[in-house]
């Protein structure tokens, strides 16, 4: 379905991106392991938020199921990590994520608005409960140990590669028929249907694509924690964080979510470092400030979620119109 037009406006950003990523790959030799752990946080959230926005940006479905896929990835590593070679484990994780995303996609995409939001949240809890129940009653062991010889730098490189693949995918998608279909769906689903677009299939395809990246992120991150249980793997806060970061950055542009991830991750870090006892209050105040005093941060959201002037799709050709709401 994807027929890509190879032009200079395609080659140039790809080469630029390749150079940036190649440079980023040398980060471990430049900074200490604290900054590496910060880089891992940023990279993993960048993947999650970008993958989230890949589906949710154009369709405007706010999904809180991010951590479902993340957790499934982590669990795949916990179960298979010591049995199979790591690359095979990653493939299994991607498959598990695909199957689950297909199942969820086909059953839920007819829900609208807040019903979808809460549904995806409910799904998180359900999966967590089912995994718990399975572990308790079948394996009789809750909490799994992951003793893999994977260093922090390995994790960073894997995440970096995944992010590069994701951005490239998003970039190609923005120029593909599938991406165009998604853009039309975002504008007007009814029109899309009458233009001959199989709306359900497009949405599910995107949902699956985004889920695979989330699953792989979970799989790559899991060895970092040595031990996972359902509470650790399926922590709903992660889903919320991803949504907030992507919304703040701008979910309808390919690089938008990353622009939300970097300042917010750093901000969380500063708050954590300086206000260990008042983190909640500071975080809440910051949020309020963003919402009220920086309406610019929210005007972007207006446009994306129902406002009349919507900016163009991730990476689409620039529109001539940039009106201020």
């Amino acid at each position: 379905m994807n027929i890509v037009t190879f032009k200079s406006d395609f080659i140039k950003p790809v080469i630029l991106g390749a150079i940036i990523f190649a440079a980023l790959a040398f980060l471990p030799s430049l900074v200490d392991s604290y900054y590496m752990s910060l880089a891992i946080s940023i990279t993993s959230f960048a993947i999650l938020a970008t993958a989230w926005a890949m589906f949710s940006g154009p369709t405007r479905y706010i999904s809180l199921a991010t951590v479902v896929f993340f957790g499934i990835g982590a669990y795949t590593v916990a179960v298979l990590g010591e049995i199979l070679p790591f690359p095979v484990v990653l493939i299994c994780a991607a498959l598990a994520g695909t199957v689950l995303a297909l199942l969820v996609g086909f059953s839920t995409l007819r829900l609208a608005g807040v019903y979808f939001v809460i549904f995806t949240f409910g799904l998180t809890e359900l999966v967590r409960q089912v995994v718990s129940w399975y572990e308790v009653n079948v394996t009789r062991e809750l909490g799994r140990y992951i003793f893999l010889d994977i260093t922090q730098d390995d994790i960073y490189w894997q995440l970096l590669t995944l992010l590069a693949v994701l951005l490239l995918t998003g970039f190609i998608l923005g120029r593909s028929r599938l991406g165009f279909a998604l853009r039309i769906i975002g504008e007007d689903e009814t029109v899309a249907k009458h233009c001959g677009i199989n709306v359900t299939r497009v949405k599910v395809a995107l949902f699956v694509l985004s889920a695979v990246f989330m699953t792989l992120t979970g799989a790559i991150m899991a060895p970092r924690w040595t031990y996972i249980d359902p509470v650790i793997a399926f922590n709903p806060m992660l889903s919320f964080q991803v949504v907030i970061m992507a919304l703040l950055g701008g979910p309808r542009r390919l690089l938008g979510p990353i622009l939300g991830v970097i300042p917010l991750t750093l901000l969380f870090e500063v708050l954590t470092a300086n206000f260990p006892n008042h983190f909640s209050i500071m975080l809440g105040v910051t949020f309020m400030v963003i919402v009220y005093l920086l309406p610019g941060g929210v005007i972007g959201l207006y446009e994306k979620y129902g406002g009349p002037n919507k900016p163009s799709h991730p990476n689409g050709p620039p529109t001539t119109k940039e009106k201020t709401a």
């Binding site: 409960q129 924690w225 260990p276």
Partner: protein, 406 residues
């Protein structure tokens, strides 16, 4: 719009980067006029209640007591403690990063453990790699012996789930052979690492001692509404009720048992029973309830510790992990004094030697010389097993009737 929004984000990013730069780099280790101790612990999130009960007050109280006394005695100098603390928000990832920061940015001299099995396991490899000792005060894992081998300087202070279950089973077996209880046991566990580990071990141990498990189920983490479970168990004729539960469930189960007037001869409920909260909530009805942990309040050291804890934190310590944590802090203090320097390797070597004088008597981190089974007796949570330990109290048997709510 596009431009202004980009600009805004760029400004925000620049500002935060500047902020983080000053915030993180500003705090460099100074010359050794203080001993820097760092910890990252769950001040918020699901782990917060546990951390606030068994760990945080002990850390704070220890630091205050040491500093009030002029500091740690290193050689012939007194060096005060300086604390760097973070909130890991009950997340493994945050805990990992906070520990990395303590090591690399704050360059602290020693790191105290986070709260809970999961987080302790998450940070263990990092502490090990950086050569820090790890006094894991609130982790229960059947892999504890392997873990201490895997990470040389790690000490798993609360031991394995099996040991609590085995001790309980042995204790119950004695009662059974004395003809005091029948062979029926109803067991419920919280579906969390801790509950499952204990119930697995409990199942094995109880069956080995020819007990019949008439009820053996789990309940989901976070659930407090356990009325139907208690009602069902009540009809099964078990003399012994065992719940490997977490505090909210422990309180919920006790309350339901009281409402339904389910009064087995042995009423054992897991984590939370040894918390002061339990006594506050149930008053006289706490009498006779059995759980893990315990404290010999006749021991002046323990009694004094409890008194100081009340004075410092405004509430009693719990009678299980708090006591072990305190013993480990005392050990650390003595290890530093014995090493006579702040050199990490020297201190680690001393920690490994043990023989510290603590509220648990002569103690080496990782020793399991604390109470495995305890019981509320006359407003005190006393130790009853292992029966071979000094100060073991006789079990109040059978459990007295519920007096009912006020």
């Amino acid at each position: 719009m596009q431009i202004s929004s980009r600009l805004r984000i760029a400004t925000l990013a620049a500002a935060t980067t500047a902020l983080i730069g000053t915030a993180l780099l500003g705090a460099q280790a100074q010359a050794q006029d203080t001993y820097r101790i760092g910890y990252a612990i769950s001040k918020t999130g699901p782990g917060a209640p546990g951390a606030n009960t068994s760990t945080i007050p002990n850390y704070e109280m220890w630091v205050k007591e040491v500093n009030d006394a002029g500091g740690l005695k290193v050689g012939d100098k007194m060096i005060p403690i300086e604390v760097v603390e973070y909130d890991d928000r009950s997340s493994s990832e945050e805990a990992v990063r906070a520990i990395e920061r303590l090591i690399n940015q704050d360059k602290v001299d020693f790191i105290l453990s986070p709260w809970g099995t999961g987080l302790n396991l998450a940070v263990a490899p990092i502490l090990d790699r950086a050569g820090y000792a790890h006094l894991a005060g609130t982790a229960v894992s059947d892999k504890a012996p392997q873990l201490s081998k895997r990470w040389k300087n790690s000490y798993w202070l609360l031991g394995t789930g099996s040991q609590y279950a085995n001790e309980l089973a042995t204790f119950l077996d004695q009662l059974k052979s004395d003809g005091k209880i029948n062979n029926k046991v109803a067991m419920i566990a919280v579906a969390d690492g801790f509950g499952i580990e204990l119930s697995n071990a409990g199942r094995k141990a109880l069956e080995k001692h020819d007990f019949e498990l008439v009820y053996d189920k789990t309940y989901p983490l976070g659930s407090q509404d356990l009325a139907t479970i208690v009602n069902e168990i009540k009809s099964l004729g078990a003399d012994t009720f065992v719940a490997f539960s977490y505090p909210p469930g422990t309180l919920g189960l006790t309350e339901q048992a009281r409402v339904l007037n389910f009064n087995p001869k042995i009423f054992y409920a897991g984590v939370g029973t040894a918390f002061p909260l339990y006594k506050d909530r149930f008053g006289a009805d706490a009498e006779g309830v059995v759980s893990l942990g315990g404290a010999s309040e006749t021991d002046p050291k323990i009694a004094d510790y409890i008194k100081r804890h009340i004075a410092f934190a405004g509430r009693e310590p719990d009678r299980w992990a708090s006591i072990v944590n305190w013993a480990s802090l005392q050990s650390l203090q003595q290890a530093i004094e014995r090493a006579g320097s702040t050199d990490r390797d020297a201190i680690n070597a001393e920690l490994a030697k043990g023989g510290f004088d603590t509220i648990l008597g002569s103690y080496k981190p990782g020793d399991q010389n604390f109470w495995q089974v305890g019981q509320w007796q006359d407003g005190k949570f006393v130790g009853i097993a292992p029966t071979s330990m000094d100060g073991a109290q006789a079990l109040i048997f059978p459990k007295p009737d519920w007096k009912g709510a006020q």
